[in-house]
Symmetry: C2
Subunit: 312 residues, 2 copies
Amino acid sequence: MAQTNSASSAAQSALDTRWIAADWGTSNLRVWAIDARGEIAGFRASAKGMLKLQPHEFEGALTDLVHSWLPIGEQIPVIACGMVGARQGWVDAGYRKVPCKPIERNSLVSAPTENRRLKVSIVPGLRQESPADVIRGEETQIAGYIQNGIHDAPIACMPGTHSKWVKLKANRIESFQTFMTGEFFSLISNHSVVRDAVKSNDWRENDFLEAVDECLEGRVALAADVFGLRARSLISDDNTTCLRSRLSGLLIGQELSAMRNSLGDKEVAIIGSRELARPYKSALNHMGCKTKVIDGEMATIDGLKTARELSV
Amino acid sequence: MAQTNSASSAAQSALDTRWIAADWGTSNLRVWAIDARGEIAGFRASAKGMLKLQPHEFEGALTDLVHSWLPIGEQIPVIACGMVGARQGWVDAGYRKVPCKPIERNSLVSAPTENRRLKVSIVPGLRQESPADVIRGEETQIAGYIQNGIHDAPIACMPGTHSKWVKLKANRIESFQTFMTGEFFSLISNHSVVRDAVKSNDWRENDFLEAVDECLEGRVALAADVFGLRARSLISDDNTTCLRSRLSGLLIGQELSAMRNSLGDKEVAIIGSRELARPYKSALNHMGCKTKVIDGEMATIDGLKTARELSV
């Protein structure tokens, strides 16, 4: 289902569009029309993420969203990042090996189109040999973060289904580490024996931070402490809000505990939505780390602009 | 669906049955007819575990299996353990507080029956205040283990969906700890982004033990190392057997790492099926711990015999 950003719909004439930026992930496709001044002239989104599409269906899903933006008779570049470039995506854009710049000139990979008016290029992911790790999409956000000249914080924390911690040095990505924190939270809170114990829409900061502290003190074994949430729900007065906040603290705390030696007194750039950034900011500040929050969508758009510049 | 153990079916006449032992868990019901000599005269099982039954359906599920065993005109005791005594079970048998004996005289809880020929008693679970933890069913296996006079190994490891580690002292349970190791393995290998990377029916001991070692060395952050399995499947030659064995090693290794300080040079009694016991035995021996394996089903039956003796 296409959504139109009404604030910018007046600007969505074909004439304004010079190129199209696309954030094409596992679950969603988000596109922006960029005009001659480099400004956003239009925004649309659909739920046609990579998982829902066969390779031959990507062009149609894109065209459904952007056809009214296409100038008549002209070819228009589309720069895309994310799982659209995975092995199961439109085309396998591969992985570049770190250390490297987040996006390199001439590294984008073309996707085949039947409509000659579309010229689609996909940003490749990054891979790390040891420990084995991969990134796809976040490299573009890092490029956007760096491009804004705000990389005085050389560690980026990118919360999400698969949180990424990225170490930067002189505009290059040195190394990174992925944590399945968001996916673990979803599996445990929706599909495990603990699910009833953590059914809540509220939040208790104290319980969250207490669990973070236990992780930092090395007192947590995840498979035991998560079961402990169910035990508490059976034999103590702890309510579901307390236990859900504690589950979040156990998972994020384990992540911070593993990253702690890399943090030192450096500022951490948290790149993501305000909602995802909030508990990470809270826990990092609680640990004594300085943080700044970078809007994840703006970082993606800025990174795609960088990719566009490096592709022409 | 009732299964009949053909080897003992000839012995399943009503006349032999003095009482019935029942292991009634989340997913299955298993019953044994015990004769006048205290021997097993019959065995039956069904998939009518606690999760599939409303409180008023338990009696029917039991009767379906045992009706041919019931002596005419006599009341027959049924001693049951497991989730049948949970809050969502036939009757809430509650929890006794550790430290305590695994089963105490007069602690069994009666379940109401319409058929006066059935006299059903349920073994209560155990609870631990701090860290909050609960056991239901394993207390009966511990009672069986102790009853056989083989408790020179004062730590019992009970592998399963929720593994239990139980510390014993002079025939009492001092404390215990639950790990959701089996449930985590199932969630990750069936429902996570890693599932394709670990699709295998084979086993590679070296990869399993390597992951156990990494856990013992404190080098593992579960949410990161589990994602690493997917990364390895994408960028290295590691096959699914290697990665599945590694997943098992990461989860069991985290459990052993948390328990290590309690192990010392004590022998560990592994109580469970041969299949579940095997990787725990392998890892514990690799760490230099002595182990002995106790058949979990025999421990349950022996424990229910103890419960029967304490209830008359």
